[in-house]
Symmetry: C2
Subunit: 252 residues, 2 copies
């Protein structure tokens, strides 16, 4: 008899530019074993389906068949509302990193009504800062010193924690309502950026730095879809108002 | 700066007749990453050191170099006092299986003064009942249904839980004193067996069944070295007494 694992259907594993198709297969096997179902790959290369299927074993072939492939990360994360970037432990940014177990605890009330994704970078270098921009949280597996696990093992440990925390030891968790998707947030950030450029808050030399800071705190707020629309509305109105002022000044 | 992980030196990962040297290498990498140091292999075949070292990566080469290889499991487990057998979830025996997390919680007070080992069976079939005889506890990774992880991932999840529970989230744990090693217990079981055969408690047709039951509860008791010697002393004395009686009966 299988446990009800439907909540895990709201969670995707996203492999960002993986180098070895075997690792995609190994991820598929783990995803299946831990009751998850969604595997997404960001890649612009042709993927070797024989190598993938061999590592997936026949039990998890359907995960490979249903796998979605996107050329860019932005497209891949668009429908998700809570995005976790996985990284190796790093000295400097350690403060902001949480363990997979802490992440799952945080995720638990969210995933009833929201879709979440875990991003895993390429085998040799991990996620770039540009890719981490899409993330609302960062997860680092506690290891001894600064060593790192291989990709398949990192995926296995995250899927294991998801199954353990959300199904095996699920406690009564109060679900939170639907929050904004990445698509909605990106649209909002674009509006915010336009408005901030307009008031010269964002100047060429520190544009990205400040914008990343703003994304950081807006991303952490877990805005609802409605709230992100309100922020967009404010920006839109602000830009409109500025334009009117400029036009009035030009009229003598 | 590295955390003090010396307690993990008391824990060994034992691969029992692994088929693929790559999995030995992958285990070595995880062992290193999670602050452990001891890898033991039970095998009567020549191990391909190129394949092992490649998967271990150069960081963990020293784990492969220091790896011990034994022809039998009995020799491999001899110095250990707490032995955990890892299995896939099975319907029938599920009651006696614990999750890796529960096992680590149970292990925590033991490993300050005692050596513990985790046994992993071959990739295709897992540990036999004969091999599970040496174990004081059984650990099964919670998965969806009766699916099973691959060997390297099962090792990774156990090492991760060990590091997580014993180092990363270590709470103040009251250590327990040294308990009997497998070598001491096996000697004791042999003595117990002799005594029970002597009194016809163990008959040919159900010998193994009853002996396994006795091993089961004696193994769970966590006898100290001294206590196992007391039990041996009782058996020895019992056998001696029986012999005397028999000899007296033969004297008319």
């Amino acid at each position: 008899m299988l446990t009800d694992t439907s909540i895990l259907d709201n969670i995707a594993i996203i492999l960002v530019h993986p180098k070895f198709p075997e690792n995609i297969g190994a991820a598929a096997r783990t995803i299946f074993n831990m009751g998850l179902s969604q595997l997404i790959v960001v890649s612009d290369r042709k993927l070797d389906s024989t190598a993938m299927t061999k590592m997936a074993t026949h039990n998890a072939t359907h995960i490979i068949d249903a796998m979605e492939v996107f050329p860019t990360l932005e497209q891949a994360v668009a429908p998700f509302s809570f995005i976790v970037g996985t990284t190796a432990r790093r000295g400097r940014q350690r403060g902001s990193e949480r363990s997979p177990r802490q992440i799952v605890t945080e995720l638990a009330p969210l995933v009833t009504n929201n879709r979440a994704a875990f991003l895993f970078g390429p085998e040799n270098c991990g996620l770039t800062n540009e890719e981490l921009k899409y993330c609302h949280a960062t997860s680092a597996i506690p290891t001894n010193g600064f060593s790192s696990l291989n990709l398949a093992q990192a995926v296995a440990i995250h899927c294991y924690e998801l199954y353990h925390g959300l199904i095996h030891e699920r406690k009564d968790i109060e679900p939170v309502p639907r929050i904004a998707t990445s698509f909605e947030l990106e649209g909002m950030y674009e509006h915010v950026e336009k408005a901030l450029v307009r008031i010269n808050f964002l100047e060429a030399k520190n544009h990205t730095y400040w914008m990343n800071n703003i994304r950081g705190f807006l991303g952490r707020m877990r805005l609802s879809s409605r709230e992100s629309n309100i922020i967009r509305g404010i920006c839109r109105q602000f830009i409109r108002h500025q334009k009117q002022q400029e036009e009035e000044q030009q009229v003598p």
